[in-house]
Structures are given as C-alpha cells and as structure tokens.
Symmetry: C2
C-alpha cells in the first residue's frame, strides 16, 4: 500500500530489484515471463512488484524495444456514424490486446496537409490504421512510408493503393447491388442514386453495385447525383430529384443523405413511399425511428474496426499472415420508406 503522503516517482524495475534482492535483469525476466527464473525468486520478485505497485513504463519499453503496443487511427471525421463505429471497433479490440489507441484527423484532403498528419502518426510510433473511404483517407494511405506497419479500411480492394498492403473491407458493391435489386423488384422502372463523395476519382463501389444491378435488369441508368456526406447534401440533391415526376425510387449513399432526401421530398409534397421510395446505406441508429422509417443496408462497422485491428496486430507481432480480408456480409433491412411505385400515370 502506498502510505507515504507525498507524491513519489513510480517504482522502476531497479527499485523492485533492490526490494527483492535481485538484479534488475531478473525483474525484467519475471515481467516478461522468461522461463529460466527459479520459482522462489519469481515469487519474491512478484511480491516486491505488488508491494511497490510497480507498473512497467510504456515509454521506456517503447524506446528500448522498438515495439510500442500502440495504434494510430487516421480518419477524416470522427462524428459520422460509420467512422465513429469503426473507431469504436478498433478501440474495443485494441483494449482487449492492451494496445493504446491514438487518433489523427485528416481535416483536408490537400496533399501536404495529409502528409503532415501521416508524419505525426508515424512519430507516435506503433501501427497505423487508415480509414480510406474518402479522398483524404486514400491520400493518407498512399502517403504512408512503405516501412510502416499499416492496415487500410477500404471501400473495395480494387481501389486500394499500394496493392500489397493489408486491408479490410465490407462488400459495399454487393450491398448496393442488393438494395437496388430490392427496389427494382418492387416494380420501379429504375433507381436514381445520390452518391457520397467517392474515395477515388473513379466511381465508388456503391455506385458500381447500383449500376450493375440496373444493367442486369435492363433498367435505364440515370446519372448519379453528387451529394455530400451530410443531410444538407442530400437535401440539395433531393430537391432536384423531387422536381422530376419520373423519379420513383432513390438510393442514397448513406443514411444521412437519405434523411436530406426524405426532407426534400416532403417539402415538395411527394409522399414516401407512396410517390417515391427511398433507401439508405449504413443503418445508422436513428434510421429505424424516422418517419417513414428507412430501408437501408446494415454494415458491421464495429466488426470492421475489430478486424482492422486484428490484422494490424498480426502484422505487428509478425504472427498472422497478411491477407486482404472481407468482413461480414451486408444485410438488407427493409422498412417503411420503400414500396411499390405509384400506379402508372
């Protein structure tokens, strides 16, 4: 028990060593579980550790050994549901493995700014997880020096830069494909798409899945409307679509966009799902409680985060093989916002 009143420097292995009457190296052996320590000695050391309340200094460990039991997560945003959930998953897994979690936010996609953030993350030591769902993230992933252990959380393996880096992903293409088919199967002639900002200059996995489903059904392929991330972007896009009476089904790149679209349709006096069906993406927690509740695809973001950490952990400990990893299958959640198109005019 710490009974001395004044604050004192925490005990080091040398303090423990003198207390137990051994050398500091023996203490080191005990805390590292080295086999060749006599049982009686080990017990004496453990007793001393307990008594002095010794805790191994993480900083010294990192400096001396090189390995730092830390992950830094690089992301462009911590407030969006998907990103935050991935982060939570990472943290969960990291905690279980007693790793420290650091975060770095990519405020702009501008190249030098991204490079600076990557540098900062590298300085922190340990591994890196980059959420590469958007241009900033993709840029960051590309900017990570080759010798740094890193795992990317990517939209789809095809867009992953570097190619040989380990990554995790959910099958967004398949998910988009599934919702689109759901809408088509309800009788809609085609499905319009409000896109999230693409992670690359080319089209996103979600866009691809949507387009593919249309093509398979022989449905016309309208130009995707560019949204933003948030509801405001969806609202803008929704206003345009609401003016077009031929639009009867809208797929949105995420649930926030869908919310904006829903609002825009309401403002234009078009009912959902009576006149227009709307589907989202992600199954954010509020989507089930909207009126109308939102048809969407559930993605296992926390699982994705856990998998990302597991992969990085493997890389850092040089144990697990490095392999791209698809995590979980997206699940279509049908709610009130989708239905049959209005009777033919």
């Amino acid at each position: 028990m710490n009974v001395t009143g004044h604050t004192r420097r925490p005990a080091s292995i040398r303090d423990v060593a003198t207390a137990a009457g051994v050398s500091y190296q023996t203490v080191s052996r005990v805390i590292n579980g080295h086999p060749s320590v006599k049982q009686s000695t080990r017990e004496r050391v453990l007793a001393a550790i307990d008594e002095l309340g010794f805790r191994r200094n993480a900083t010294a460990l990192a400096l001396a050994s090189g390995r730092s039991r830390a992950v830094t997560v690089l992301t462009s945003n911590t407030t969006h549901y998907g990103y935050a959930s991935i982060l939570q998953g990472i943290e969960e897994a990291a905690r279980a493995a007693s790793y420290a979690v650091g975060i770095g936010v990519l405020e702009s996609a501008e190249e030098t700014a991204v490079a600076a953030e990557v540098q900062r993350a590298a300085d922190a030591g340990g591994g890196l997880i980059v959420i590469a769902y958007d241009p900033a993230g993709v840029g960051a992933l590309a900017a990570v020096p080759a010798d740094l252990p890193v795992v990317g959380v990517v939209e789809t393996p095809a867009t992953a830069p570097g190619g040989d880096r380990p990554w995790v992903w959910t099958d967004d293409r398949e998910a988009a494909h599934a919702v689109t088919r759901h809408l088509l199967s309800l009788g809609h002639e085609t499905v319009h798409y409000v896109a999230i900002p693409s992670s690359t200059r080319r089209t996103s996995a979600r866009t691809t899945g949507w387009r593919q489903a249309l093509r398979e059904a022989g449905a016309p392929e309208p130009r995707p409307v560019q949204g933003n991330w948030g509801p405001a972007g969806g609202h803008r896009a929704g206003r345009k679509l609401a003016e077009d009476p031929s639009v009867t089904a809208i797929l949105c790149g995420n649930d926030d966009l869908a919310l904006g679209v829903l609002r825009a349709l309401h403002e234009n006096g078009r009912s959902v799902p009576g006149d227009v069906s709307v589907a989202g993406f992600d199954d954010a927690p509020h989507s089930a409680y909207l009126t109308p509740s939102l048809t969407t695809v559930r993605l296992d973001f926390t699982g994705l985060g856990r998998a990302a950490f597991a992969l990085l952990h493997g890389v850092l400990e040089q144990s697990a093989p490095i392999a791209p990893h698809r995590v979980s299958v997206p699940e279509l959640v049908v709610r009130e916002s989708t239905g049959a198109p209005p009777a033919h005019t």
Copy 2:
C-alpha cells in the same frame, strides 16, 4: 534526399551532430531554440537536419524529459454526436499544439473496469481529459490519481467530483431552462421531460433547468420519464407519454431521444406540433432535416473540446491559471416541432 534504397534507422541527434561537425548537445540546443548558439553553427546544424531528414523521436523525448505532448481522452462512447464532437474539438486543438491524442473507452461504469481504463490512460503518459457526462465518466474522473494532470468535461460544476480539478462545461441548466420557457410561452400548461441517464445519482443539470422553469411559471411538475441515450429509449418513453392526452409538450434530454419520441407519437396518431410539441437538446446534424424539423438547443461541443484541451495544455505547461471555465452560451433553435397547444378541449 533519401537515396539509399534500403530502409534505414531514422537519423538521431548524434547522426546530425557528426554530419554538422558539432556535439549532440549543440544539436539539441538548436532544435530547442536555445539562444546561445552561434548563428553560423545553427545554420550548419539546420542544414544537416534537413539533409538527413531528422525528426525528433517523440518516445525518447518523453522518456528523457518527462513531458510527453500527449492527451488521452476518456469517454464512454465515441459514436454519440455530442461525445464525438467534443473529441473532434479536442483533436483539433491538440493538433494545432502538436499534441498526440489517445482515446480510451469506458465500456462499463463498473468501478474496477473504470479504474483499469484510468490506469491504462495514465500509463500512456501526458494529460487526461475525461468526458464526465455519465456515470462511467464521473467515476473515471473520480478515479484519476491526484497527481495526474486532468481536465473534466462536466455537465455542471456542482456535480464535479474532487472539486479542485479544472473543468469545462456548457450551461446545460440554462439551456434546459430556455427551451422549457419557450414551450411554456407558447401556451403549454406544463412540459414533460424525457431524461438522459444522469451523470450522478442526483438529478442532472438539464433536469434542474427544466424544473426550475416550470416552478418559476407556477406550472405543474410532472415526474421526468427516464429515457436512455438513444432513439430506442425515447421511443419507449414516448409510447407512455403518447397515451396520456393531457401531455402537450415534451422536452427531451437529447435529439436522439426526441427522435424516438417523435416516432412514438406518430405511431399513436398524435401529430407534432398540432397535438404535441417536442423539443430536443444538442442540435445534432440530422435534427434540422427531420419531419417535422426539431426545435432544440445548440451546444458548442467542438468549442467545449477545444477549451478542454486549452485548459489541459495550460496545466501541462504550467502557464495558465487553473480555473473552471464555462464555454459558450447555448442557443435556442426553434423549428417546426414546437407550437401552440391544441385549442382547449
């Protein structure tokens, strides 16, 4: 330029020193901006730094000097809008000050689990920011050893444990007071309240503000309904309230609860704001786009996060005085979900 093909150990100050033909200590002086270094020497050293791509090793710095330019944020949740925004504010300010940001999630409010998390955070070195809006956070704040630099983000100073620790807060009581008054001024006889889990066993600041406004107006004081954090909790609470025809105004502890309440009212065929007015708390990004759009109180969470970091920064650098700090004034945002009560039956 790094032209050698193979990965090499990053340059240390001794490498720079030999390259510049000075001692390592002189290099140290240059990077720390020590005044007594001859101009010509300084230039030579800077040139060597540039050429070798030297970057100061954060781990070694932390070990040698004790100070670590790092903050760990302890929070019970990273996905809720308010928490995530505070985190974002902290990160923003920390980045500007080139501090590293770590996170630790308090998964349960159970005492030993919380203590373990605090320990882990302490091990990481640097300062601590604890988001103490809920029992887990409050417990964590209380469990932080006295000699650790820590700043609490608290609901209200009165509930802050330890008392002498620096903290930041927004005036939740005042905010609740303002919305409640708004509802009363519309003509409602009283305002019901769906509470978020309280940070202490006693009532929260929001509850207090609400009650105070009722009291001042001489309105009846109904028992607050206990909600949860998310829309599901609001939904449950809303179902109960929807059954009571005398309920014409409902204030919710946050926007997610309000969403659930909105949904429940809709399911019970009560229109908003025609039959019942609903107000939320926080002004989450989606609240403006709900149908009806939600009247709420905007709180400056990112500002709160920035202020928390600034305070901690002051503590760590021993420069600024330690003072409790109220950040920003909450702002009432009136939208569609509140209106006059239905004509008297």
